[in-house]
Structures are given as structure tokens and as C-alpha cells.
Amino acid sequence: MAVELLMPKMGMTMEEGTIIKWHKMEGDWLKKGEIVLEIQTDKVKMEIESPEEGVLLKVLAGEGDVVPVNKPIAYIGEQGEEIAIPETSESADSEVAVAEKADTSPQQTAAGSSEPGSKIKATPAAKRLAREKGIDLSNIKPGGPNGRVIAADVESIKATPLAQRIAQEKNIDLSEIKGSGVNEKVRSEDLEDKADTFVEEIKEVSVQPLKGLRKVVAERMSRSWDNAPHASINLEVDMSEMSRFREKVSPVMEKKKGLKVSYNHLLIRVLAQALKDHPELNARFIDNGIEYCDQVNIGIAVATEDGLIVPVLHGAELMDVEQIVVRADELIKKARHGELVLSELEGGSFTISNLGMYGIKSFTPIINPPEVGIIGAGAIKEQPVVENGTIVIKSITTLSLSFDHRAVDGAQAALFLSHVKELLEEPFRLI
């Protein structure tokens, strides 16, 4: 009995997964526990192991395909075993393959091909290449014996993807067209004479399909923006004291741990305290209400080559500065190298996003659902400030707090942010 290999649900928020790479092909023998494919969940890349020993009988989704969780992506069973695939989308293809002797079997012809007796003969290699290049075999002039299309015939087709599509639509034999492109590559212009009905100008636009982390970020941000009524408040903070504190503590830490202390680390430390004092901001807006979190779990927004990723520093309220520095740096490093495990991405209760290093003054961060608040840190800049009637120079930064107005009111948010300001301006209060 063939078993289904399902798209796994790897976390509460995972609704679908993208297939990154198949490590095994149909027909391959699988040992139990052997890696079959790699998927991208809404958070991480994962390798999926074979649940059974057997033959990979059928692959239902290709690389790049997005499959909802708990839907079958492949079947594993014994060699030659029949499998019943519930959806009908695959059956059209397999019937084409079955219609081998089209001219002697009218029934199969009707199912497999629109033109009776027109079954295309091609070697397995030619079929594979055509599949890979997205070329319609019926447009290729067979170069092998018995009217068989061989790999070289497919390889000799040099045409832009657009030209290939037009040729397919207009039923033009590309091998008869002399191309005007580089290396005689056939371009869409070359087909205009042949396809006289083709008047519409199609410009080739490069559309990058949403996939992987980009797709995940896009979906989560839309969901947050659509569902959570965002309100944002800004507050200027004098960082002079914190700056002095950092100058003193950073060399000590560097000597002890080889790590530098950044404003981000200190901000996390301050937030851990402030969130403990203001539990209404340390919460998650879930289906049936608001979950106030026991721990302070601070997500740190990290920009990676693939996109935004938010590792979570768990239990920040119990950590001293040294522990925060060590753990935060570890998480950021892992995020950049794609080494985070699922547990390091889940359970956040508040998020911090820092664009200060780009010189940004202030911005409106989008809440990382289902959390209810996010703080955005801007650049620290020396500014003239009026104090007791005189102008003095101070290191000023702007903090921006976005909060989910369903869970938090403006006054609560303002109190929280001013508490953060207080702790940053007078670090001794942390003791």
C-alpha cells in the first residue's frame, strides 16, 4: 500500500510550503529517514525525510511549487504499485503517455491527443530537455530515425522564451526560422511575418515570481497591515548617558567575550525591563483574545540576502547585558547564515527593528503578528537642544512605536514609550 508524503505543518502559523529541491527522483529507492526533498516553510528551510522504505512512485509537485500543509506531495510504495491520485489534474498527462499506438486504438487517441495519429516520437533525453526548456516537442523537426526527435534537435532550438511561446501559440516550426539575434537566436520579431495575425506588441517584462522568504514576508506583512489597526507614536530620546555607559562597558565586554556592545543590545535590555513593567505591550493578539506573555521574548528584525527574518531572544527579562550581547549576536549570525532552527523563530512577544545604521531618523514599523507592538530605532545624532534656557549639544535618537490598537490604547503606548525613554536617559534605573 503506497503511503502519501504530505507537506508537513511545521508550526502554528504555517499554512503552505514551497518545494525548493527534490533530492530524489521518481523511481528512486528510499531508505527510511533518507532526505527526499527540501522545503521552505513560512520561516525556515527544512529537509523532509522519507517516512517509509520504498520506491518514490510519484512526485505530485515540482520545484518552486507551493503546496498547502497536509496535502500530498508524493507517493512512496513498492515498485510497480498502482496508486490512486485523488486530483484529476495529473491524469491528462499520463493518458498522453499511454496513447502509444494512437492509430490502432481510437479510444486512447480521443483521450490523449487532439489530432488522431499525431503522437510525437521523441527519445527520453529529448523529452527531458524539452521539459526543462519549456519547448513544445510538436514544434521540433525530428532529426532521428523513424521520425524520432532526439536531444540534439531540442538543443538546436535557439529562441527567446517569448519567441518559443509565440511559436507554440501560432504553430510555427522554429527550426525553419532564421533568427536575427545573437548566434541566430530566433526573436519574437522574426516570427512576425509568419504570424500575420500577431499584431499585439508584447514587451518582455521581467516578473520575479514571489517565492521563498520573499513570499513569506509579503504575506505576513499584508496580513498584519490588513488585520491589525496600526497606530504609531514617536519620541525623541537623549542618548548621552547611554552613550557614555556604552563607551565604558563595550571595551570590558570586548576583552571578556570578544564582542562589542551596540545600542541595539542596550535597547533590548531596556525594553526587557519596560515590557515587564507594561505587560499590555508584551502580548499576542490571537483568535480568541489577547495572550499576555509570561516571558519577554524579543524578536530582532534582521535583514538577510534572502529577506527579512526575525529571530527571537527568549526570556530577555532574566538576562543581563552580557547575556543579551552573546545571545543576540549568535541569533543574528545564525539568521544571516540561514542556520536558525524553528524554535528560535517562534514565540516572540515584541519586536525591535533598527534602521539607525542607515541614518534613518524615524519610520513606521509594521507589527510582526500576532504580537501587538514593535519599536523602530532611528539614528543617533548630535543635535542642539534647549535646556533651561540655553542651547546644549546632545545625542538624540527617535524611537517609533507601532501598536495594535485592538489590544493597546494610545495612552498605554505613550506611557510605555516614555518609560523606555526614562530608562535610556537614566540607565541607573535599570538596577
Binding site: 523511481g27 528512486d28 527520453p124 533525453a125 523529452k127 527531458r128 532526439i150 540534439a152
Partner: protein, 325 residues
């Protein structure tokens, strides 16, 4: 290194193993006083004595059976069957006894028996002394089947066979006995299940066994003059079969020709073809798989007809070209 004949390599392997392990001994027809029908055991009676080089009556079933029994109680017999055609006399002992005993007794005993026997045509010995019967045994679970194509492999594979705890059918080739290649003096073995790529090429894979390996190499030389680069693979052992090497080569070349001396119907080349069609190499095939094999007839006595009955270099060239279009 020293150039020695295939026959000498077989003898050296047996001698060295007999010095290495006192349980190794020889049995067969005319292997003692006469030195073997092809002279392979020449001198070994004097060297090792009658206890370890035993002439037998003309009763293949009897002495192969004795070999199975000796193997079961801890000896390592090497049994010579004068012509491989005569294995048909002892089918029960090989197929029902040697191949099955270890399995049926739950591994309590093993059968470390080597059956050495020369096969193949080319000596004008007619239909009962010229067959290539390896496929019969490749079909039987519990047997290993080895077909060395040169002196180096003959020595290394025979040593592996003697040291193996399971029954091994070791098919030598009459026409190869006089062929020389360089063979190291020091002890070495050639592992089972590892094919040997004799020549690299990107246009077509030619997999061959026994004497057909050198014919395939000669064909490849000639095809190379026409700009066709063949990859020639010596399978060396049929069981175990080195699927990986052939699959890898076919994925590279997209074309497969399999050459065997045995008649085509039910031959091992069909098994290789089926393995490839079932493998991931299928999607890389750009031409039908071609079997170049003996005709489905008894080997004729007439020397010209005998030649025509089995693949020659020219046949390999012609048939290889049919898949190169």
C-alpha cells in the same frame, strides 16, 4: 610488475591463496597429473601434494557436491569444471544446494566454494564445449558470478572469490588464457561489484564482459578514428552488478551498447538494459539501448560459422553506429 598470462594469473592466485590458507584445496578432472585440460594447474600436484590437488572421477555432480560439503565444514575448495558447458551436469548441487544452504540453515553454515570454469567459443570445440552460460547463474539468488577479462582482474577477482564466504561461479575464457598484461607481484584483490572504466568517452557507453571487453576496446579505437568517442566499461562481476557506474556513464553519453558473447535471448545484457531503463538514466537516453550478442543458435563447429555466431569487432562497430545518429 611483470607481464604474465591470464592462465598464469589464475594459477598464481590459487597458489598464493593455498600458501595463505591451508583450508584452500583444488578438485577437478585431470587437474593433477595432467595439469588441467588448459594447463592451468600444471605443476601444482608436485607443489602441494595429492591431499590438496585432487584428481576426480568424471562425475561433475559428484565432485561439485563434495566441494559443497567440504565448504560447509570449513574448507575452501576450488573446483574446476573442465568446460563450463559441463556445469549443466551439476545444476542441482550448485542451484539447489550451494546457493540455498546458508539461507535455509539460517546462516549457521556458509558455503565458501569457488567453481572455476572456462567458457566461450573460438577454439572449434563445437556446441557442447563453447557456450557462455553465466546468465543461468546470475539468475539464481545466492550465487556470485564473476567474469574476468584480463590477467590482472583474473588474479585479483579469484583471490576475492576464494576469500568470499559464499559460492562464486568464476567464468574464465579459453581464448584469454594466453593473453598477457602487467600484474603486480605483491598481494592484491579486486573487489566484487566494481566495474572498470577501460576508456572514457562522451558519445556512447559500451558495457562488455569477458573477452568482449577487449573487442569493445578495439572497436572503440577504430570508432575514435571516425571521431566517435566511446566509454568502454568492463562489468567484471555480474552478481553483484555495479549499476551505479553504468548509470553514471549513460547519464553522460545518453547511449548504451551492451556486448556479450552469450546468445542474446535471456542474456545478462538484457538485465543490464532493464536496469538502465528502470534507473534515473532513463531520462538521459537519446537512442534505443542496443544489445550486441551471440546468435540464438548452438555454436557451430565450422570455424567461419563459429565466428559469425558471436560478436566480432566489426559487429560491435556496426551495431554501435546504429545508435549514433
Amino acid at each position: 610488475m611483470e607481464e604474465i598470462t591470464y592462465g598464469q594469473a589464475v594459477r598464481d592466485a590459487m597458489r598464493e591463496e593455498m600458501y595463505r590458507d591451508e583450508n584452500v584445496f583444488l578438485m577437478g578432472e585431470d587437474i593433477g597429473v595432467y595439469g588441467g585440460a588448459f594447463g592451468i594447474t600444471s605443476g601444482m600436484l608436485n607443489e602441494f601434494g595429492e591431499e590438496r590437488v585432487r584428481d576426480t572421477p568424471i562425475s561433475e555432480a559428484g565432485f561439485v557436491g563434495a566441494g559443497v560439503g567440504a565448504a560447509m565444514v570449513g574448507m575452501r575448495p576450488i573446483v574446476e569444471i573442465m568446460f563450463s558447458d559441463f556445469v549443466t551436469m551439476c545444476f542441482d548441487q550448485i542451484v539447489n544446494q550451494a546457493a540455498k544452504i546458508r539461507y535455509m540453515l539460517g546462516g549457521q553454515v556458509s558455503v565458501p566454494l569457488v567453481i572455476r570454469t572456462p567458457g566461450g567459443s573460438g577454439t572449434g570445440a563445437a556446441a557442447q564445449h563453447s557456450q557462455s552460460l553465466e546468465a543461468l547463474f546470475a539468475h539464481i539468488p545466492g550465487l556470485k558470478v564473476v567474469m574476468p577479462a584480463n590477467a590482472y582482474d583474473a588474479k585479483g577477482l579469484l583471490k576475492s572469490a576464494i576469500r568470499d564466504d559464499n559460492p562464486v561461479l568464476f567464468f574464465e575464457h579459453k581464448l584469454l588464457y594466453k593473453k598477457k598484461v602487467s600484474v603486480p607481484k605483491e598481494d592484491y584483490t579486486v573487489p566484487f561489484g566494481v566495474a572498470d572504466i577501460k576508456r572514457s568517452g562522451g558519445d556512447v557507453t559500451i558495457a562488455a564482459t569477458s573477452i568482449m571487453v577487449s573487442r569493445a576496446q578495439e572497436a572503440a579505437e577504430k570508432l575514435s578514428n571516425e571521431g566517435i568517442e566511446c566509454e568502454v566499461i568492463d562489468l567484471r562481476t555480474l552478481v553483484p552488478f555495479d549499476r551505479e557506474t553504468v548509470v553514471g556513464s549513460v547519464k553522460k553519453t545518453g547511449r548504451l551498447v551492451i556486448v556479450q558473447e552469450a546468445c542474446k535471448r535471456g542474456g545478462f545484457s538484457s538485465e543490464v538494459a532493464a536496469e538502465i531503463v528502470e534507473s534515473e538514466a532513463f531520462d538521459y537516453l537519446d537512442a534505443p539501448i542496443k544489445r550486441v550478442a551471440g546468435k540464438n543458435i548452438p555454436i557451430p563447429y565450422c570455424i567461419e560459422l563459429e565466428k559469425a555466431a558471436v560478436p566480432q569487432v566489426e559487429d560491435i562497430i556496426t551495431d554501435t553506429k546504429t545508435v549514433l545518429y
